[in-house]
Symmetry: C2
Subunit: 133 residues, 2 copies
Amino acid sequence: MRTTRQRQVILEELRKVTSHPTADEVYEMVRKRLPHISLGTVYRNLELLSAAGEIQTLGLAGTQKRFDGNPANHYHARCLKCGRVIDLDLPVKALNGLEDAVAETSGFKVVGHRLKFLGLCPRCQKEEQKQDR
Amino acid sequence: MRTTRQRQVILEELRKVTSHPTADEVYEMVRKRLPHISLGTVYRNLELLSAAGEIQTLGLAGTQKRFDGNPANHYHARCLKCGRVIDLDLPVKALNGLEDAVAETSGFKVVGHRLKFLGLCPRCQKEEQKQDR
DNA sequence: ACAATAATAGTAATGATTACTATAAAGAAT
DNA sequence: ATTCTTTATAGTAATCATTACTATTATTGT
């Protein structure tokens, strides 16, 4: 994988934020620095960077994928209403033990795991209350 | 939500299998019993059944969503190579305690969680070995 | 049985993602 | 540093899963 300006900037911008942007949101972020970059380049690099373990692809919900500049294992909470995804600060250790158990019982060669919590974010909880009145 | 023949059959067929089919796979399954059903009906009902808690929608990976006829909380393993998803028989209890912790630290009103393991299924492990020779 | 209304089949439209191709840039070899 | 080989890019077209639309049909409460 060669080091191109486009790839560098995509990775830099993604590492700057914790907002788990979609591909077109990354495109907008990057376009401020590289106005001529094409959307296809963004998609291709997000895929390559993900395959290389530099970022994470979140196959969460909705129609669009989201991308996470933090490749380390960490967990997420997704709001069922607005789709927003936030990072959680939970110890990963507890789950690592389970990987071995899964490998044994399933025959899978386990390379990692993903854990997410679903619910309503604080903002959307307030919206719900308004509607109840 | 009315009880229509189409909705019944979709739910029945989905409950029969543990293969986590995609929408078009469900369509093919159901079409054997209801040859005139339309794909749009399948999509709409999968969404409604999921919203009603009768089935689960798995926003795993790849381009297509997968559906699980088992609405109870249970965990999955997905093969990174062939995309196959299998059910795991793991105790859910260990994770339930974490939901409260997440709610406290994040402010989310947590309603559930999803845990999946990633790796290579037994079949694809064999394929890898063939290629190594 | 009738009326009100939700659901369906069939089709068209949408929208995220991928594929294609000529040109440009990166890294290796000279 | 210059040339060469190959990968990556921009711009555009194509794909494909999903959603929206509409006239007709089926369900359910009265």
